[in-house]
Symmetry: C2
Subunit: 383 residues, 2 copies
């Protein structure tokens, strides 16, 4: 018996679709909306735009934006207090992965009580969440379509993954116009996050034919468009393709989970805090691909083809090596070929990070079994 | 502004997944389930199996199976009376497109009142529907994932399409084991329905990148597996691929709508009543493809490639012709190369059918504008 499950929110996609955010929240029964965002998104003007559409739909609003990159449990705690005090009955996020994951975490605690650590892992949420509408401003986290929220546990200094069907938002509004205000570095970092989601979910032990088509589409679109959005933020064709890539990758990893790269990245993010998750992925991904290759060379052959490599006539192993080389090239071309040491990690951190990575939910679906020594070795290679 | 919407139910896919039907309905809050099926599915034993799982989950049940192929408004009326009298609070369908579409139609009238014709067209349903779980026993209609229900209006003698977001079931349980009891003729007819959904949604004016990947996957899987399931109903690999094809095609057409083939087929089905919808599609599809080709040759080139044709070095027009030839070959190989006259249509029926086809919701998204005279001509070609 090999049963797979696939969940997806309703998706509203296209240039100008942010205009649907008010009627979307209203359709879900909202009357007072808690809008989660961050200072950068507010400065770019997207929050004002969203508030306009929400108010036009007759909804009262409360804005919460005290959020940093790699969002933290203490920020969630503050958000929950604000949510409960304001009498809101629905959540909207306008932003990248951080505001989205905070909105989801606030939704959990506001309706289920307790602490975030109570819900760490898979399907621990029992009571229904308030309606949620998400409008991403980055092509990255894919959280607008996923059943994940990932929040830093500031005490343990790691990122905890909360994975639950009810964390899939009700409606994802994916408007590529919103991607134009990302700076090049953020476009690069979030784009590599998309690529990592595509590759890890495609080789995941929980991959299914339904997740595969989304994963391969995401990889293909990243290979064709990521360099373009980094050099030209107003290239709307490339932005539209990256928005689609991010969403496809989100649908893939939401249902197929991830692998060792994310299991390791989550620990680095929780320790360094200010380092963008995508940059950490860029440092680790090629090494994990090389480690995983022996477990599923045929899958990596398909990754190579999706990356645009010519694989006809090659053995699976030869093609898999091309996948790794193409990934390294893409990472270098957008300026993210940095070691973890350059990001600020010390080699004395590796033993603790490795022990925590062994407990991360994402490691369970990595295609190759990894021992503690092997994870330590991968961290060292990535330094 | 080019905004597209994509909705999908939660999907539970895989051999043995019917076992999830009880807990799925329970999770949606059901206490007394109205199970819609038909005599063939009951004889195959699947209803007993489903009832076992529903009862094991603590749910009371009421079975309704007075349904024929091309389900009729009068059957829906009887179903609604039974539903309301029995005090049920959720619907489950175990069967092909007919029981599924009846379950959806019962759900509409039980919660929104009025008559089915009140809801014909797009997004006319205003009040929420009871929870719905669908387990298909054919790889065909794709109704388990779609926002369509198609029911015969016995007065007007046509099939009316009701299309609404709330008609997407809450949970689709796609268990390929259930496909083993289809006879070869039903496997052929339902399989051509899948192919038609894939092709029409791929060339639809409302196609989006999100529907495209599902449409192409459906076409590809039909080309590779439909002949196999017709000659060997216990070929579980091919059955699993056809189950996936049906679901993918359903997700594609649910969100991209269809075209002239379905606009025409709906009229024939409503008149002949006992003819399987898939056989009617088989008679009409190649002629509509030839008619549509000029509007989007590049799209038909992709259809040809998905059908397994070698298209490199060919012009889009040359490749499109291969798509039509391959479709004709597949239809002939499974014994469905019949004219509409052989199915019982008289040429004197064509003027009325053509006028009604011009009003069918599916014609709006056909890639080539069609006049009444052109639709009449297509009917004549298909005789």
């Amino acid at each position: 018996m090999n049963i797979s499950k696939f969940v997806s929110p309703e998706i509203i996609f296209g240039r100008g679709s942010l205009s649907q955010i008010g009627e979307s929240a209203a359709r879900l029964g909202a009357s007072r909306v808690f809008l989660v965002s961050d200072p950068g998104v507010i400065a770019a003007g997207w929050v004002d735009r969203a508030l306009h559409y929400l108010n036009a739909a007759g909804l009262a609003t409360e804005t919460f934006s005290a959020i940093t990159t790699n969002p933290k449990d203490i920020e969630v705690t503050e958000g929950v207090e604000r949510y409960l005090a304001s009498g809101c009955d629905a959540l909207v996020a306008v932003g990248g992965g951080s505001p989205t994951d905070v909105a989801k975490a606030v939704a959990i605690l506001a309706s289920n009580g307790g602490r975030l650590t109570d819900y760490e892992g898979i399907n621990k949420i029992t009571r229904p969440l308030p309606p949620m509408v998400i409008a991403p401003t980055t092509a990255g986290a894919g959280s607008e379509v996923s059943q994940f929220t990932v929040v830093v546990d500031t005490r343990r200094k790691l990122k905890m993954s909360i994975i639950s069907r009810s964390l899939v938002p009700d409606i994802a509004i994916v408007d590529p116009e919103l991607l134009q205000t990302k700076d090049p570095q953020l476009a690069a970092a979030t784009g590599i996050d998309v690529l990592t989601h595509g590759i890890e979910s495609y080789v995941s032990l929980a991959a299914t034919p339904l997740t595969d088509i989304h994963a391969l589409q995401a990889i293909r679109l990243c290979a064709q468009n990521l360099r373009r959005v980094v050099v030209n933020r107003s290239d709307m064709e490339a932005n539209t393709h990256m928005a689609m890539a991010s969403m496809s990758a989100g649908l893939a990893f939401s249902n197929a989970i991830l692998g060792a790269t994310h299991a390791m990245t989550h620990q680095v993010d929780g320790l360094l805090l200010d380092q963008h998750h995508g940059e950490t992925n860029a440092s680790i991904l090629p090494h994990v691909m090389a480690f995983n290759m022996a477990a599923c060379p045929q899958r990596f052959r398909e990754v190579a083809a999706a990356l645009g490599e010519e694989v006809s006539g090659l053995s699976a192993e030869e093609a898999a090596l091309l996948a790794i080389a193409a990934t390294r090239r893409l990472i270098a071309d957008i300026g993210l070929d940095l070691g973890l040491a350059e990001l600020g990690l010390r080699s004395t951190d590796i033993p603790l990070l490795s022990r925590n990575a062994m407990k991360d939910a994402c490691l369970v679906t990595n295609p190759r079994d990894a021992t503690l020594a092997e994870i330590e070795d991968l961290f060292r290679q990535a330094m």
